[in-house]
Amino acid sequence: MATTSFTKKTLGLENGEPAVTPPTTETQANFLKKPKLAAAPPRKRDIPEGLWTKCKKCGVMMYDKELDDNLKVCPKCQYHFPIAARERIHALVETCSFEESDASMESVDILQFTGASSYTSKLEQYKKSTKLKDAVCTGIGRMGKYRVALGVMDFGFLGGSMGSVVGERLTRLIEAATGKGLPVIIISASGGARMYEGTFSLMQLAKTCGALAYHAKAKLPYLSVLTNPTMAGVMASFAAVGDLILAEPGAMIGFAGPRVIESTTQSELPPGFQTAEFLLEHGLIDAIVPRGEMKARLCSYLEYLMVGREQLAALGG
């Protein structure tokens, strides 16, 4: 994310009054819309701390708070910036309804991975920068009238990669949902399986899909939301088997990386290749849903997909 250097500000001001007058009154109105999320302060960008962000796509300068309040979507061109897992959860569930699961679970360097950098130091680095213990946050919360088992990945943690902890947290979440008769919603953002855990990471693909097999057998809905990016090992497992597969606009979604494909096939990739729009056209995803509408759309889909369960409950079954 680009941050301008000429508007340096004193640190720790993001929760207080802006030090610089914002450009339009319109943006000021946006500040009042939503109270600041106490439990999960927005992730601080690495360098340098700024008040303004330049949109990657349209280049418009916007006030950070305006971007935060718009769920990290550019108000002008609708470019979807990455959003931290906790911020996203906050935007999806009813206030105070989310109970996080398995929060103490942490990755271990099972292979004692020796290489250009150690796995342990990478983990420490990302724990610090994201204030997360690994690349997914799971728990049960209420969305509209439904309790849902919600898993939200965070691309900021080691590229959202799936190792044992991501696999285990999601598997427990899905199993809990199966046991409790709850729908599952997983918001993916991942470069794929985590190399540092070798074949253990690969097995998480089978583990999560296995748990979903039994969740599906219990006729419970699973909604998979693909965000930028959802690739490789994550796309080749739980992300691809939703009853409904939704995607955020412009998200990169696929199996192999575009550069790998280009070098393997020695051919030019079609325009828009591996974007959400491309995959909608090619029949993989059910709908593209902008971030701001995501909660309402998910709740609305659940109302349809839970009809069977509710009829069963009404019959006392």
């Binding site: 699961s101 271990v108 046991g179 074949t199 693909l205 992300a239």
Partner: protein
């Protein structure tokens, strides 16, 4: 010309010496008889081979796993199995020659055989995409496996692929989805499934036909989340660091067995499977039959439960307190088989 691996060179040099001697018996040294000299060289070959194969690095083993003369699925279809009859097509788009399947007999047992298939030469490799399957391959495999499940045929899966094909068509027809669906559906097939990594176990492309009750691996095969070259390119910024990555990823049969990620190592004849197909086929056949017979002793639902638990157990992590939301009231369904508690 015979394809050779760098570390096989001393063996091949001795072999050449032996061939020369046999061609020109008059050249043998005067101090010993011709027969004695032949025997001495043969013994030396055997010793050298034993010496070399006792000290293979992970990278050496990956080279063996990729050896162009290594037996492929269709070689085993003819040597381990009898009456193999290939079945084609996913009934959606095409037939994928990189992932083959068909009916066959393993001893007396009728089975479904599926496996990824590389080409022996350039022409065949173009046809078979170097063993990298397309979405059609995974969908064909699933179609055949569901049929096998319907009619009670056990499934034998042979894995030898560098990975699913990274191509435009593969993405347009959603190879990731095809693999993911297989992972989910294979977990619910009631017939016994035995998967064996016979060469390369390349990531999701391998796992896509690899969810099984028993997972075997040949002594010189590997099974990895990413190719050593791919890992080296990302973590070392240099594909040439692949040997280092191969060691770090711990992807050899021995490593995987120690980590508990495979059930059994099938030994290869001295010098590797490419050196002796008949012996390799015999050893593989014995291992498949033993495992299949053991699985047949269980009911379908027992197998499903064990299969789920097997994959459920993969993963290493630490946690200071165990708490899964919504399960605080003594609900233990996360510890058990989800199918058992589900409606």
């Amino acid at each position: 010309m015979k394809y050779q691996l760098d570390f096989e060179r001393p063996i091949l040099e001795l072999q050449r010496k032996l061939d020369d001697l046999k061609k020109h018996p008059e050249d043998h040294s005067l101090s010993v008889s011709f027969e004695e000299e032949v025997a001495a060289i043969e013994k030396k070959i055997e010793e050298t081979r034993r010496q070399i194969f006792a000290h293979l690095s992970p990278w050496d083993r990956i080279k063996i796993a990729r050896h162009p003369k290594r037996p492929f699925t269709l070689d085993y279809a003819e040597s381990v199995f009898t009456d193999f009859s290939e079945l084609h097509g996913d009934r959606l788009f095409a037939d994928d020659p990189a992932l083959v399947g068909g009916l066959a007999k393993l001893g007396e047992q009728k089975v479904l055989l599926i496996g990824t298939q590389k080409g022996r030469d350039t022409k065949e490799n173009i046809k078979r995409n170097f063993g990298s399957a397309m979405p059609e391959g995974y969908r064909k495999a699933l179609r055949l496996m569901k049929m096998a499940d319907k009619f009670g045929l056990p499934i034998i899966s042979l894995i030898d692929t560098p990975g699913a094909y990274p191509g435009i068509g593969a993405e347009e027809r959603h190879v990731a989805e095809a693999i993911a669906v297989n992972l989910r559906e294979m977990m619910l097939l009631e017939v016994p499934i035995v998967a064996t990594v016979i060469g390369e176990g390349g990531s999701g492309g391998a796992l896509g036909i690899g969810v099984a009750d028993r997972v075997l691996i040949l002594e010189n095969a590997y099974y990895s989340v990413i190719s050593p070259e791919g890992c080296a390119a990302i973590l070392w910024k240099d594909r040439a660091a692949a040997p280092k990555a191969a060691a770090a990823l711990r992807i050899t049969a021995k490593d995987l067995s120690e980590l508990g990620l495979v059930d059994e190592i099938v030994p290869e004849p001295l010098g590797g499977a490419h050196n002796n197909l008949p012996d390799m086929a015999q050893m593989l056949k014995a291992a498949l039959i033993t495992n299949l017979e053991a699985l047949k002793k269980h009911t379908g639902s027992e197998r499903l439960k064990m299969r789920y638990q097997k994959y459920r157990a993969y993963g290493r992590f630490v946690e200071t307190q165990k708490k899964t939301a919504g399960l605080e009231n003594g609900d233990s369904s996360t510890n058990g088989f989800p199918g058992a508690g589900a409606i």
